[in-house]
């Protein structure tokens, strides 16, 4: 009896070992290569990753490493792999194609990516075919560029006493060009446009508050991603304030086990918001004023747009961002959306992008009164009338981009850049 049992046990052990080997031998089948490759990339084991690349491609390890090192951006420098799903679309004994769906966690948002990989088999081992890199060359070797730099002394006198009255800078004057409370798909947002009408660059903070009919405060929140936070003199940005609640405040809410950068707890409003209050505050800022991101090509399709961004300056853009404002057929601003481009843009180079227009688009403007809009604590209207008495209203409406969309007629694209490694 014991003999039979030991034989059965031995068979189970052998079978398990075999299964373990099959599942873990990285080059035994296409799935394993793909998983091993992404695992190596995730843990920055680039030598391991290189060894999974087709040896018949003429890429040396030095070339591979160099290509990895020059790639910057949200996905290549700030992401961690969360999940991977491979789907082998075609397979024969020497070649395969695969659709690889990966989920990445970045500090800004979750990224879902679909890559199409081709694989080939050499001497019984599967390899990934190497990817082509963008061969675009900038026209010049050396670039020069003039920019205006800013420096705030802070306290001019070295003292631990309170700051001298004259060392306190005036808050830059902002002008809220439009602000409205909108309802989009069961959630409320304040959207609009704000301009720095002062002569110094400003760091902009926007705080919106919602009220019901009886002037009871319902919610307060600040503009997060949907704004250019740093504005040069006379620069305009679209903005959107989403109202977020306190996460996991109820006992029945369970805290997720993993970090979710897109964590959003919609606020539970006790009543219908009818009115809103917007407080815009500017402070003089001398940093993160990189504006050399150019929209260099664009093509509009039915449900998306494609285009190229060009970095015309001397800093590498780590995370390019597009702010897309939607307008109706009367050129009235109705919604603001944004997208982070996953790849960085090196100096004087192009990067293509793709953006899908929003689909569920039942946007309703609830209130567009500018009555309760304040700039640096003062009412917006008199200040803007004083500095810009004869404003050309809706000046840039002439330059809106027409789109063929059932709900929207025009869009405006604004660019915003985050520099991870300023030099």
């Amino acid at each position: 009896m014991t003999h039979i049992w030991s034989i059965i046990l031995a068979i189970i052990v052998c079978f398990s070992c075999y299964q373990f080997y099959i599942k873990n031998d990285s080059q035994r089948n296409p799935e394993n290569v793909i998983i091993a490759y992404y695992d190596a990339l995730d843990f920055k084991e680039f030598e391991t990753a290189y060894n999974l690349i087709n040896p018949e491609s003429d890429k040396t390890i030095a070339q591979y490493m160099l290509e990895v090192s020059v790639a910057d951006g949200l996905l290549s420098s700030y992401a961690k792999l969360d999940a991977i799903e491979t789907d082998i679309t075609t397979l024969n004994d020497s070649a395969a194609t695969a659709k690889v769906k990966t989920n990445w966690i970045t500090p800004l948002e979750k990224v879902e990516r679909i890559d199409y990989k081709t694989l080939s088999r050499h001497e019984g081992k599967w390899y990934l075919d190497s990817e082509d890199i963008d061969t675009d060359l900038p026209p010049n070797q050396l670039y020069s560029n003039n920019t205006t730099g800013y420096f705030n002394q802070g306290r001019r006198r070295i003292t631990t006493e309170q700051t001298h009255h004259e060392d306190v800078l005036k808050q830059p004057v902002l002008d809220v060009l439009s602000a409205k409370l909108v309802k989009y798909d069961n959630h409320y947002a304040i959207i609009g446009e704000v301009q720095n009408i002062d002569n110094v660059p400003a760091d902009v903070v926007l705080k919106g508050t919602l009220y019901n009919e009886a002037n009871k405060e319902l919610a307060t929140y600040n503009a997060k991603y949907h704004i250019k936070h740093k504005l040069m003199p006379k620069e305009t940005t679209a903005f959107k304030i989403n109202f977020e609640g306190i996460a996991w405040s109820k006992t029945k809410d369970s805290i997720p086990k993993t970090f979710n950068p897109d964590e959003f707890t919609p606020i539970e409003l006790e009543d219908q918001p009818i009115k809103f209050n917007l407080q815009a505050a500017g402070n003089v800022s001398g940093s993160d004023l990189y504006k050399n991101m150019v929209l260099s090509d664009l093509s509009i399709e039915e449900d998306k747009m494609k285009g190229n961004l060009f970095n015309s300056g001397l800093q590498e853009i780590t995370v390019p961002q597009l702010l897309v404002s939607y307008y109706d057929d009367h050129k009235t601003l109705v919604w603001v959306d944004h997208v982070f481009i996953k790849e960085g843009i090196r100096q004087q180079r192009k990067q293509n992008f793709e953006y899908s227009f929003i689909t569920n688009s039942s946007v309703k403007i609830i209130n567009d009164s500018m009555e309760n809009v304040f700039v640096n604590g003062l009412p917006n209207e008199p200040i803007s009338n004083k500095i810009v008495p004869n404003r050309i209203e809706n000046h840039l409406n002439l330059e809106l981009q027409h789109i063929n969309h059932p709900d929207f007629s025009y869009i405006k694209i604004e660019t915003n850049a985050y520099i991870g490694n300023p030099n």
């Binding site: 061969t135 509009i300 015309s312 192009k350």
Partner: protein
């Protein structure tokens, strides 16, 4: 009736006691204020003298804006001398006093006036930056004080001085409720304004007000490019004329100018620049297809430029396509530029594979040395006939019914 003597006794006591009170006040009537001065300079020794005919030493209750205190007298030649403490005598204002006798209500007041000299000037100015044009102003507030930090009386003359460009101006203003103020208006020019104040030969420190230019007015733009070919590689630079405000001041450095470019497809492209000495420069990479750009620059809501148009000429008029390896290897090129040189690396070439009018694959590649190679994967594109479309530089070539093995 045994109560009667008690009533009489009580009445008698009341009458007696009123006599006693009268007698008492008659005795103290001699205590009088001898000091006649009712105005003292702050910081001077203030001594109130009272005549005293009596040995008891009543205290003096003093009350000023800084608080109240009791002063114990000293006796000198039959006089009661009350020295007002320093903390009261240093501060200007009314001082109420009352001699604390049992019954008399000898009381009065005197005034402490500031020393007629200015030792320091408490000065505030704000906002520290204003706009040129004569409507915006900054407010100078001066509080001249003596050496004991007392504000000087109303109508003290303060000279509010400021220098702007070649002008040095001095205006006499007067204090009211300790404060003298002046609104200093900007002039038409932008620049730095230095402000100070003077009162009774004492001067404040220097303050700086920046007068920024007003909002920009319309301007012109120009473009500079190494050639007018659409090679997708060179950079066109747009430049504005010197942007000025309506008073002919050059706008402040860093003013954001957006350049909108409309191409022949009616798509709106955008670049931007910030001004340096009024000139904003913006860069744009050349398109890689023949097009016409209409460019207009804006300072949102305030100013705009004229519109200029630029034509970009087609640089590649035709390209060769070679098929090899059972039509699976497709070589495009040489892609030649306007002088027959190889197009700079990075020209985008797109290959679309159709089968029965259904798009199967879209492949993008960029050129190296004027050549682009596509390899059609036999795994995903099985043996059969396909339609292939190749687009680059705005050109298109299609190959119908291409046989792949």
């Amino acid at each position: 009736m045994r109560l009667k003597p008690i009533y009489i006794l009580l009445l008698g006591l009341i009458v007696l006691s009123s006599f006693a009170a009268i007698q008492d006040s008659e005795m103290r009537i001699d205590t009088q204020l001898l000091t006649t001065q009712t105005e003292f300079e702050a910081g001077s020794a203030i001594i109130l003298k009272f005549s005293a005919s009596e040995i008891t030493q009543p205290k003096l209750y003093c009350s000023s804006s800084y608080g109240s205190t009791l002063v114990t007298p000293s006796i000198q030649e039959n006089m009661l001398l009350f020295t007002i403490p320093k903390n009261i005598s240093k501060k200007t204002g009314q001082v109420q006093w009352k001699l604390l006798n049992d019954a008399t209500s000898l009381s009065g007041q005197f005034k402490i006036v500031p020393i007629q000299e200015v030792t320091s000037m408490e000065t505030y100015i704000g906002p520290p930056s204003i706009e040129a044009g004569g409507t915006d102003y900054t407010m100078l507030v001066v509080i001249p004080t003596d050496r004991l930090d007392n504000a000087l009386p109303d109508n003290t003359i303060v000279d509010a001085k400021h220098q702007f460009l070649r002008n040095e101006t001095s205006d006499a203003i007067t204090t009211k409720n300790s404060i003298a103020y002046k609104n200093i208006y900007s002039e038409e020019k932008s620049g730095r304004m230095l402000v100070s104040s003077e009162s009774k030969n004492t001067n404040s420190k220097e303050y700086t007000i920046t007068v920024f230019p007003a909002i920009p007015t319309n301007f012109n733009i120009s473009a500079l490019r190494p050639h007018n070919y659409a090679d997708g590689n060179q950079i066109t630079t747009f430049e504005t004329s010197v942007i000025k405000d309506k008073h002919n001041n050059v706008v402040s450095d860093g003013t954001y100018v957006s350049f909108y470019i409309t191409n022949h497809k009616n798509n709106s492209l955008k670049t931007s620049g910030t001004t340096i000495k009024g000139v904003a420069t913006a860069m744009m990479i050349h398109p890689d297809y023949k097009t016409q750009w209409s460019i207009k620059a804006y300072v949102d809501g305030m100013a705009e430029s004229d519109m200029i148009t630029l034509d970009y000429e087609q640089v590649i008029n035709d390209f060769e396509v070679n098929f090899s390896k059972y039509n699976r290897n497709i070589t495009i090129g040489p892609l030649q530029s306007f002088m027959k040189q190889m197009i700079p690396d990075g020209l985008q070439v797109t290959l679309l594979v159709y089968k029965d009018d259904i798009l199967l694959e879209t492949l993008h590649k960029t050129s190296i040395d004027g050549i682009v190679n596509f390899n059609l994967n036999p795994n995903s594109l099985k043996k059969g006939t396909y339609n292939i479309v190749i687009t680059t530089a705005g050109l298109e070539q299609s190959f119908k019914a291409l046989q792949l093995w």
